[in-house]
């Protein structure tokens, strides 16, 4: 493949790819995401490949092993295009029938389509299934359309047109302005305005600057970053290159999970392909802009997702945070300005450049713009990844998309943001998804994991669980965090075992105040947030266990 050296060449290449593709040619999109992987989807993929070979259909049918479709609960998922017939819980034995009946015969196999457990209604097409129907997808919808290992698939859906527009038609200042106007806020937990951070890094003194993708995804119950990065790696990469251009950086880093070889593999292939096509390296698209990317891995510990710890880790040192009197966007990796954003934040960038900040800012609430990927887990019928506009109520997410609570149980609480988040009780379910509104309720959305808890849940036990997790995952460098968490864990454990003592709650509140004020990084500062939110809404559960 010769490298692409101009916008015209990119468009020509795209046309070439599209001209060879017949939109009416059937293709089979088999989910190869993490959730379906755990359900042995590799056997389904092999079965389809063998069946297509056996029936000599290679020219008539395409097979794509794609990223996560979102509906992990019902995996392995197979979607037959162009009709978009969606089959759930597919077994290898179903494959020959799917090929002859549906792909060739255009008939729907009743047994394999989705049945709503509440109404008994069946839905053959993806667009009719409540889980999908009630979402607004601008990011994850592309997962079913592309093989993450194929850059041509990404180009076929318009990929890298935002990069071409940014590099060749816009100045770095204009790109920055567009991101600022879109009001894109960081998806990794803090909700910090991305444009503002980019501007700080851009204006920070120094020639050498870095841009980084945070793909550590350590928040428990969060799996949307993996869904996007594994399923559509070029979209994240495209966002990163655009950001680098706006900031004036020529070196990027991807910091990702060491324990997910499939993700690693897809990232490696995407980088190699982008380089081959001239979308990375020297003189990208003939613009004169140079940019390279290096991949680094976490060592599993939760704190390595924190910005300064992550940057230490990229330097090859232990992932221990430092105090941030000076921001990492001013002084990060090797003391150079380093702009860190989350996977989902970067994935939004091409969308904003392509469709404009005005379009983007028209979605969502006043201060939270665009869509958000949510990972649903816990006591919920549909575990999976959903994409909704900010402003969607929590009730809609849990009942209309998530299908409610299994086994006829009632909902007790929804926990957001993992070990540094908080819970809200049932009575707050009509709250809209919004960075600030939920933070005010003591349940900041974090990276977007929603742990649904049914009426049988003991809230004190949930908090004991999170504190236990944090006591193992704190780096141990600063005393307020290390000792504070340990002491809170001890007291909460006593309470959860029915051995609470008079004054325990006050003591917990005091320790959490000190840890919040004096810890080095946000892990210690927010470690008691889950505890405080439950003391706010479920105090009686603590009091009931105090003698």
């Amino acid at each position: 493949m010769p490298r692409i050296d101009s916008a015209a060449e990119l468009e020509e290449l795209r046309k070439g790819i599209l001209s060879k593709r017949d939109p009416n040619k059937p293709y089979i999109a088999i989910c190869a995401g993490m959730g379906c992987h755990g359900l042995s989807n590799d056997r389904i993929i092999t079965a389809f490949e063998e069946e297509v070979k056996k029936q000599d259909l290679k020219k008539k049918v395409d097979i794509r092993a794609t990223g996560c479709h979102g509906f992990c609960e019902k995996g392995p998922i197979v979607v037959i295009y162009p009709e978009q017939i969606c089959y759930v819980e597919v077994m290898p034995g179903d494959v020959p029938e799917i090929v002859s009946q549906t792909v060739l015969g255009k008939k729907v196999i009743d047994r394999l389509i989705y049945t709503d457990p509440n109404t008994g209604e069946k839905a053959a097409h993806q667009s009719e299934i409540p889980f999908y129907k009630n979402q607004m997808q601008h990011l994850i919808n592309n997962n079913t359309k592309i093989d993450p290992k194929s850059i041509d698939d990404y180009l076929a859906i318009g990929g890298y047109s935002a990069l071409s527009k940014a590099l060749l038609e816009m100045s770095p200042e204009q790109v920055l302005e567009e991101i600022k106007k879109s009001n894109l806020r960081g998806r990794g937990g803090g909700g910090f305005p991305a444009g503002k951070k980019w501007e700080t890094a851009r204006n920070a003194p120094g020639e050498e600057k870095y841009v980084i993708v945070n793909s550590h995804e350590g928040e428990l119950g969060a799996f949307m970053d993996r869904a996007i990065f594994m399923g559509n790696p070029h979209s994240v990469l495209e966002g990163l290159i655009i950001g680098a251009y706006a900031i004036g950086s020529h070196q990027g880093f991807i910091y990702t999970r060491h324990d997910t070889p499939q993700l690693k593999n897809n990232i490696d292939i995407a980088l190699a392909k982008a380089e081959e096509y001239g979308l990375l390296g020297e003189n990208i698209l003939g613009s004169g802009f140079n940019f390279n990317v290096e991949v680094h891995f976490d060592i599993g510990i939760f704190v390595s997702g924190e910005s300064s710890a992550l940057m230490k880790s990229i330097e090859g040192k232990n992932p221990e945070p430092r105090a941030k009197y000076i921001r990492t966007s001013v002084r990060g990796i090797w003391e150079k300005p380093s702009n860190l954003n989350n996977v989902e934040t970067w994935a939004n960038v091409p969308l904003i450049i392509n469709k404009g900040s005005e379009w983007y800012a028209s979605i969502g609430t006043e201060r939270s713009k665009g869509t958000k990927l949510i990972s649903l887990s816990g006591n919920i019928v549909n575990t999976g990844v959903a994409e909704v506009p900010f402003g969607t109520t929590i009730r809609e997410i849990i009942y209309d998309i998530g299908g409610g609570i299994p086994n006829g149980k009632k909902l007790k609480a929804v926990h957001f943001g993992g070990p540094m988040g908080g819970s809200i009780p049932e009575s707050y379910l009509d709250t809209p998804l919004d960075f600030d509104e939920l933070a005010e309720l003591g349940a900041p959305i974090g990276a977007g994991s929603m742990l649904v808890l049914d009426e049988d849940t003991n809230m004190v036990d949930v908090i004991r669980f999170f504190l236990d997790f944090l006591s193992n995952e704190s780096c141990g460098k600063c005393v307020p965090c290390r000792e504070g968490i340990r002491q809170m864990l001890k007291i909460v454990t006593n309470i959860s075992e029915g051995n609470g003592r008079e004054g325990d709650i006050q003591l917990l509140e005091e320790i959490s105040e000190v840890a919040a004020a004096a810890s080095l990084c946000a892990l210690g500062k927010t470690a008691s947030d889950p505890l405080l939110s439950t003391l706010r809404y479920f105090r009686d559960e603590y009091e009931a266990n105090i003698k």
Binding site: G35, H258, I299, G300, I301, K317, N318, S377, G378
Partner: protein, 150 residues
């Protein structure tokens, strides 16, 4: 672990000192634990003090400084698996193979560890053996999963 293998891993990163974590991860993944001799060699080749290597190698249970069993069993103890009963599942697994998290049994068949959320919450509670996920495992079903490993 042979020196040749270690050198091959180090050479991949062209001896860059900031590739230390990658090198350790690859040795861990290939060899399942980090022998002292291997760490000495990494220290010499990458020109990084052994103290810095030990700091990383002992930081989290991703790395092991002792040999592992033939099969690495992980019980997910993430939040979703927790509310779906992973504590009882972990108890059952401990009972079955007679070791606690962080330990290896006496005939080096199984090593047991807990794992943080791997993003397969649709499967919870789950056991992961040598990287293979076994989903929706009730305590009673744990034996069915483990008996397939020799």
């Amino acid at each position: 672990m042979e020196n040749k293998k270690i050198d091959r891993i180090i050479n991949k990163y062209q001896g860059k000192p900031n590739s230390l974590i990658q090198v350790l991860l690859e040795i861990q993944s290939e060899n399942h634990w980090l022998p002292k001799e291997a760490l000495d060699r990494v220290s010499k080749k990458l020109n990084v003090p052994l103290s810095q290597i030990m700091q990383i190698a002992t930081f989290h249970n991703t790395f092991s400084l002792i040999p592992k069993g033939r099969h690495e069993v992980h019980v997910c103890t993430g939040s979703s698996c927790h509310v779906r009963g992973s504590t009882r599942l972990l108890d059952a697994v401990q009972e079955l193979i007679g070791i606690r998290p962080g330990e290896t049994d006496s005939d080096s068949k199984f090593s047991l560890d807990t794992s943080n959320c791997l993003g397969c919450c649709n499967l919870g509670p789950e056991i992961i053996v040598d990287g293979k996920h076994h989903g929706k495992v009730t305590p009673a079903k744990a034996e069915d999963v483990l008996k397939n490993y020799e």
